[in-house]
């Protein structure tokens, strides 16, 4: 019951947090010394006084700041994020269109990061200071430090262009039709539609960008797992487990790993949040129609409603992820109790 009350309070807090975020972003975008009219009207139309006035009135750009914000807030509370100046569609619809692509890529990326990061971390810890450890630590450092755009180009060049192991940019091969929109995640929608050809193709398309965006987090997870596991393995209760006759593998899997996961979980949560925030570079190189590209183009066009919408979504992502991480702490560690 405690946890439910705790979550209720967290949700209430989230509402205020989102209002705060919207205000911040609103203020920042208002203070940018630039005019959305210039950004959105063509050079010829800018000279046309009437056109400019009409545009200003249409988007309420003449209103004082607080009025603009309050109108926005009111609409927001009614589930209306406004209309994008650039796409002229409801921002909410735009987000629904672009976010699933990012979500799918992020999930793939974080899965890749968690599986390989933890695997490498555990092997590194067991084989501490041996050659395998040095190599895996090298891989982690590369993952953490190599720029995404460079890695993206390298992966595309080698694995797609040169060796043809994986398909190229995009979410799906051109000859296939996307599955009927349910969740917006092509792999999930394809399973729901029972279309295995599309599922397989979508999954293959996820591989290169997924590895590319997951590498950074994989490096972090691997390093954290290694150090955390080594720390746990030196503790008294591990000696107790060994003294009971528990085999070394079981000592690591049953006694040490669960305890070391607690700190790894934090890194996983943060990593997933970062991915969901959009990966402008990776999305650009892989032609991935995600939230990163949308945010980038909105910013270029000073599309305020879209910018605020994306910011709110990213803030919401972090709140949800933090909440899930908190619940998982509770599951992993019986000493953690929320009041």
């Amino acid at each position: 019951m405690n946890i439910l009350r705790y979550l209720g309070r967290r949700l209430l807090f989230t509402v205020f947090l989102l209002i705060g975020v919207s205000l911040m972003v609103y203020i920042i975008s208002y203070m940018v010394p630039s005019d959305p009219v210039v950004a959105n009207l063509s050079a010829r139309n800018i000279d046309n006084e009437e056109m400019v006035q009409a545009y200003r009135e249409k988007w309420g750009l003449d209103e004082p700041f607080y009025k603009q914000y309050l109108t926005y807030l009111n609409n927001l509370l009614h589930g209306d994020l406004g209309t994008s100046l650039r796409t002229e569609r409801a921002v909410l619809d735009d987000l629904k269109l672009y976010f699933p692509a990012t979500l799918e890529l992020s999930i793939f990326g974080i899965l890749f990061a968690v599986v390989f990061g933890m695997l490498f971390g555990v092997i590194s810890a067991i084989k501490r200071n041996k050659a395998v450890d040095q190599i895996l630590r090298g891989v982690s450092v590369v993952g953490v430090s190599v720029p995404v755009f460079w890695m993206a180009l390298l992966l595309l060049y080698l694995l797609y262009l040169k060796w043809g192991i994986f398909p190229g940019p995009g979410r799906l091969s051109a000859y296939l039709t996307p599955p009927a929109h349910v969740t917006g995640l092509y792999t999930v929608d394809a399973i729901l539609a029972g279309d295995w050809a599309v599922f397989w193709d979508a999954l293959q398309h996820l591989c290169l960008p997924g590895i590319c965006v997951g590498l950074f987090t994989m490096g972090l997870i691997s390093r954290t797992t290694r150090s955390s596991l080594l720390e746990v393995l030196s503790l008294d209760y591990i000696r107790t487990a060994r003294a009971k006759g528990v085999k070394e593998k079981a000592v690591i899997v049953k006694h040490a790993l669960g305890n070391s996961l607690i700190s790894v979980l934090t890194v996983i949560g943060l990593g997933f949040g970062n991915l969901l925030g959009g990966m402008v570079l990776a999305e650009s190189v892989f032609g991935w129609p995600g939230i990163g590209q949308y945010a980038y183009k909105s910013a270029q066009n000073l599309d305020f409603p879209a910018i605020v919408g994306v910011s709110l979504l990213i803030a919401l992502n972090y709140v949800v992820i933090n909440m899930v991480v908190d619940i998982l702490y509770c599951v992993l560690d019986p000493r953690v109790r929320y009041r």
Partner: protein
């Protein structure tokens, strides 16, 4: 070598440590934590191992369990015979079958020695599931019995609880239940009461005495507290700077300590006798492990030390009757202890 089986006449030898040496390789150099240690444990006896921190008593015990971390630790010589098998040369699978099953260990810190994310029940049941091939239900039943036996109230409730929900004394009871659940032949208790309150200490010692009678295990009781030794043990091994310096039956030890270090230990037991107002302490400190003195390790702190002591290290001399001492001048100490309580003639 001292304390061979016949000496004490108590019966069969269960564990025999022969010339054990353990070294730790550190940045500062090689630390010989255990130097040529030999002692035996007989079936059904409680053997006390006493000495201050760094005397090698815990490392010896960890060697029996093959729990000395390697690296940096390394067994550089000797044998540990348990039921005529040399524990130091057995393969790990064999050792894992012995650990927790035939030999169990209780550690000093009940607060940190239990896994915080497993329930007490799971931890108590684990040795049974590992060694006795029990089903979950049977293991649970036997865990509940064991918890009752070690005096944990409402075991049906406690079995589901996590270590952080228990007090220090309760946790040590859980440790004891876990160590004894497979009815091991030998229980090694490494300072089992040091981290506990005095009242709880007495309860735990009482519990261990009772369980030893009921389960008929042998116990190695490692401690720096001679009070615990007097309370629990049949025989005593005194260790100093990685060596055995004296082995004795419990009675002889307190009445007539032969080694000056043992004598000092006994004299430094606090008393409330009015004629001994000041707490006695052995002067000086344990020698630096990286710069051991040339002769007897205790010579720099010994009030009876002669030139010979500073030149040549004495061997452990078997005095018969289960007694052995590593000292050039044990006759002096013995005479003095038997005679007057306060030494005055030395140095």
């Amino acid at each position: 070598m001292a304390s061979k089986k016949q000496d004490a006449g108590r019966g069969e030898v269960l564990l025999q440590i022969e010339h054990l040496s353990v070294a730790f390789h550190t940045v500062e150099g090689v630390h010989n934590a255990v130097r040529d240690v030999s002692y035996t444990v007989q079936k059904g006896e409680t053997l006390g191992v006493v000495g201050e921190s760094g005397s090698g008593k815990s490392v010896t015990a960890l060697s029996i369990m093959r729990l000395v971390p390697n690296p940096p630790g390394e067994t550089t010589g000797g044998k540990i015979l348990f039921d005529s098998r040399d524990l130091l040369s057995l393969p790990m699978e064999e050792i894992n079958r012995i650990r927790g099953n035939e030999i169990s260990m209780i550690f000093q810190e009940p607060m940190t020695s239990l896994n915080p994310i497993h329930t007490c029940g799971r931890q108590i049941m684990e040795p049974l599931l590992l060694h006795k091939g029990c089903g979950k239900q049977e293991a649970r039943q036997r865990a509940l019995e064991m918890m009752r036996l070690v005096g944990i109230p409402i075991p049906e409730q406690r079995i589901k609880e996590y270590p952080h929900q228990l007090s220090g004394g309760m946790r040590q009871r859980v440790m004891i239940a876990m160590a004894l659940i497979c009815q091991p032949k030998l229980l090694i208790a490494d300072e089992p009461t040091t981290a506990l309150d005095v009242t709880i200490q007495a309860q735990i010692l009482e519990l261990m005495k009772r369980l030893k009678r009921e389960l008929n295990s042998s116990i190695i009781m490692i401690t720096h507290d001679l009070g615990v030794i007097a309370e629990m043990c049949d025989r005593v091994v005194v260790m100093y700077a990685g060596q055995v310096v004296e082995i004795s039956e419990i009675d002889g030890l307190f009445d007539h300590p032969y080694h000056p270090y043992t004598e000092g230990l006994i004299q430094s037991i606090p008393t409330i006798r009015p004629d001994r107002p000041k707490l006695y302490s052995i002067e000086g400190t344990v020698p630096n492990p990286f710069a051991m003195p040339k002769g007897c390790s205790f010579a720099p702190r010994c009030r009876y030390a002669k030139d010979l002591c500073r030149e040549k290290s004495p061997a452990l001399e078997d005095l018969g009757g289960g007694r052995a001492v590593r000292c050039w001048c044990w006759r002096d100490t013995g005479k003095r202890s038997a005679g007057t309580e306060e030494g005055g003639e030395a140095q």
